[in-house]
């Protein structure tokens, strides 16, 4: 089950955040900080890699949740908090990337790297989430 979704731009600023469950509710300041911290931890994990060419964390398995991360070639990170061993979260993140490309980037009023305030994106995301949850 999905708990929340974060989108972080290439410089580490949180541009979108949504909780799908009251369990995941965090303080607003904490969500902003979490986005930036995740950005840095992701970078450190690739620097500490024992293998060359590492791009960073894709899945973090904690005791009570899983955190799935998807980074696009342009450096935008989509990450979702889900319950342990949830299926289909990676596919969901890729679908959200598709929605982002369609409903955010093609919105003429959207400025790159700024917080996402697009109604259509919200609506499409809601239906995508329902699809994933029911799958």
């Amino acid at each position: 089950m999905l708990l929340s979704l974060y989108i972080v731009n290439k410089s580490g600023g949180l541009i979108y955040h949504r909780d799908f469950s009251s369990l995941a509710k965090l303080d607003t300041n904490d969500t902003l900080r979490l986005g930036s911290i995740w950005h840095s931890l992701h970078a450190i994990s690739s620097q500490l890699s024992p293998v060359p060419g590492c791009k960073g964390i894709e899945l973090l398995q904690a005791e009570t949740f899983d955190l799935h991360n998807f980074q696009t070639p342009t450096g935008i990170k989509f990450f979702a908090v889900a319950e342990c061993n949830s299926q289909g979260v990676d596919r969901f993140l890729k679908r959200v990337y598709g929605l982002y490309a369609d409903y955010v980037l093609k919105n003429p009023f959207y400025e790159l790297d700024m917080p996402i305030r697009c109604e259509l994106f919200d609506l499409q995301l809601t239906s995508e989430v329902t699809l994933t949850m029911n799958a």
Binding site: L26, I37, L48, E63
Partner: protein
């Protein structure tokens, strides 16, 4: 499966032990020196644990991000997977942290990590009368047994 390297930290962040079996990317291309590498690794673990504690969906009242948590409380993580390697993490009740980097084609190594802690670290290091707690160690017997154990993993 390939095992790359292993770190053991105490609860103050001192790197007690470092073993390396294979490291295709030199430390020089990463953190620079082994000392910095270990510091950076501990920093990563520390912050990841803070992040996990803040996110923890099972807690009704959330702890603010970065609030000090007494040892043993809060939510920890077991492993993370990147596109190239997988990091397995064990946080023991006494604050000893064991980190094992392997290739990503393995499942959970939690049991094996506990074996390293209980039958190698406790047996050969803690029970060694010449060992001062909190000091880095280079115990030959421990290293031998560890190499043998890691060979059985792959």
């Amino acid at each position: 499966m390939v095992c790359f390297n292993m770190y053991i930290f105490n609860r103050n962040g001192v790197c007690l032990h470092y073993s390396e079996w294979s490291r295709p990317k030199n430390v020089k291309d990463g953190a620079g020196t082994l000392v910095d590498d270990a510091k950076m690794m501990f920093g990563l673990l520390f912050s990841l644990k803070n992040v996990c504690t803040a996110i923890d969906p099972t807690r009704e009242v959330k702890r603010p991000l970065g609030a000090p948590t007494p040892h043993g409380e809060g939510c920890s993580f077991r492993s993370f997977t990147t596109d190239c390697y997988k990091l397995h993490y064990l946080d023991s009740p006494s604050g000893i942290k064991i980190v094992l980097n392997t290739s990503k084609d393995v499942g959970s190594l939690e049991k094996q990590m506990w074996v390293i802690y209980s039958s190698l670290y406790c047996e050969y290091i803690v029970k060694n009368p010449l060992y001062t707690v909190g000091e880095p160690f280079e115990c030959e017997q421990f290293v031998q047994k560890l190499n043998k154990f890691v060979a059985t993993l792959g």
